[in-house]
Symmetry: C2
């Protein structure tokens, strides 16, 4: 990796985060702005951030959605009104340089692969457990992009065709169960049955406000209802990881997203379920399972590194 | 591809098929023997076939199961009593040469990639729909092997955790629905409801004997019950292909196995369901869908080609 200064911008549903990193992946500077609601304004914001953070030698952008290999955002469920936006071309004109663009989850995978827990690992899958689930795949020592650039949409792997509807139009997508939103849904569903009073108490007494952090806090206290939800959630996470293992046989999964803050609660049950659900579990080395090294900056750092992996 | 003579042996649950191919992938000679029921005897049979077919310049073997990168068959559900068999090492000693070993589905993928419908395609997935479902993955112009060599166990992707039990120990694996056995199961299940008399008639009047060919024959005649089963089956096939598309974004799926003989019945409904189940179907180029060029010889031809892709 050269010693050049690399700019990376992560465009999220609510905020844009820009970083400049050095050749060791260290963040030299960082700025953030709210993500505007109109497509043109999003590019304005990214361009302004990029100009404000000069000097830099290369630029990359991570977007939440389907990004083609030549930098067109084809669809982005969490960015209102955006589709078919030529992010790479339009930003390239404004900034007068080549701008690399990829999905936010691919960017997070690149960050972990180059400077995080995936360093030196030839076969690993990054799994970002947030509002949805994103993925980035490294196989045989290379980042896997696919025919269109759309690899890693692992959250829309259907794991139950009769499951709850997904905004993507299908039912029972993995992210309905195993994302951060899925965890809140499982908790609220459990609340309809036997009492989960401690979880709701921690959420300020309003069951509609239950979030992952309330659940993990109650689980840490040993609350039985919370532990049951954690167990069910971890089974769903493991089910998807087993599916990915059957397909890709990685040496490592890196889990990103908000869950990384509660590794103590989730890691062990995910590993146990993984062993129970895997085919021929005693005949193979199980993939390592770890939480991401880079937190909310993973997407921006990875975007900065896109120029190095293209 | 050089002009050398390559030996390939495909070890199946019931028979071993050996071929010698030339540099263009053309089969020069072929022999087959029943697969014996004891592990040592399987290797004897392969070695005898290999000796009988000399001269050849390289040798490869395809096995139905989990094969490590250094040629150890770790588990093989359809070969009685076989596990942890050092196929590569033991055959190498007997034949006094390097013997390449991989799973039968990976071999089939190699055959299609080098000389079949996958020729020149950088991102494709081979899907063999037989007793179970096997897979072989080419991504970014390379055969994907995984950390242990176990990629492509796509039949054990769980698509319904409450589905029917699978011999692998889990429930609702894709191959319970979308394999050749799955098709027979869906047909027999339909038989329990409204009458599928024409299908059973074609199966000689015995509903337990219903196979894919009876179903496709009845469907070709326009039999409504058969067409309904075909439709349900194709939906399950498409569901798994959509999952694989979300993960790997291939340009092409090549479908192998017995179904390839009834492409006229299955191809169109699979494509229609694929379009219905895919996320953002109008925002991307759909992968091409085709049936394998090589029939029952795909595994043996691909095994012969392993030496060229290792």
């Amino acid at each position: 990796m050269s010693s050049s200064r690399r700019l990376g911008v992560d465009v999220g549903g609510t905020k844009c985060l820009a970083v400049v990193i050095d050749g060791e992946g260290t963040v030299i500077s960082e700025q953030r702005r709210p993500t505007p609601m109109a497509p043109d304004l999003v590019l304005d914001t990214v361009a302004e951030l990029a100009q404000a953070m000069r000097p830099w030698d290369s630029a990359g952008v991570g977007m939440p959605g389907l990004v083609t290999r030549n930098g067109v955002l084809r669809a982005a469920p969490n960015l209102v009104g955006i589709d078919d936006l030529k992010v790479g071309e339009l930003l390239g004109e404004r900034l007068d340089c080549l701008v690399h663009v990829d999905s936010d989850a691919t960017c997070a995978a690149v960050a972990e692969w180059k400077f995080g827990h995936g360093r030196g690992v030839d076969d690993f899958v990054m799994v970002t457990l947030g509002t949805g689930i994103g993925g980035g795949i490294v196989a045989g020592g290379a980042l896997i992009r696919g025919a269109n650039g759309f690899t890693g949409e692992i959250g829309h792997m259907v794991v139950d065709p009769d499951g709850p509807p997904c905004p993507c139009g299908k039912r029972g997508c993995w992210e309905r169960y195993a994302s951060g939103s899925g965890l809140a849904w499982l908790a609220s569903r459990a609340n309809g049955g036997s009492g989960v009073t401690r979880i709701v108490e921690l959420a300020g007494g309003d069951s509609s406000m239950v979030r992952g952090e309330h659940l993990s806090a109650a689980a840490r206290e040993g609350d039985a209802a919370a532990l049951a939800v954690v167990d069910e959630y971890c089974r769903w996470v493991a089910l998807g990881l087993v599916n990915l293992t059957n397909i890709l046989d990685p040496a490592l999964f890196v889990l990103g997203g908000g869950l990384a803050d509660a590794a103590d609660v989730f890691l062990q049950p995910i590993q146990r379920w993984f062993g129970e659900l895997l085919y021929a579990p005693d005949r193979r080395r199980h993939p390592d399972l770890t939480f991401a090294q880079f937190g909310e900056r993973a997407g921006a750092i990875g975007a900065a590194l896109l120029a190095a992996v293209h």
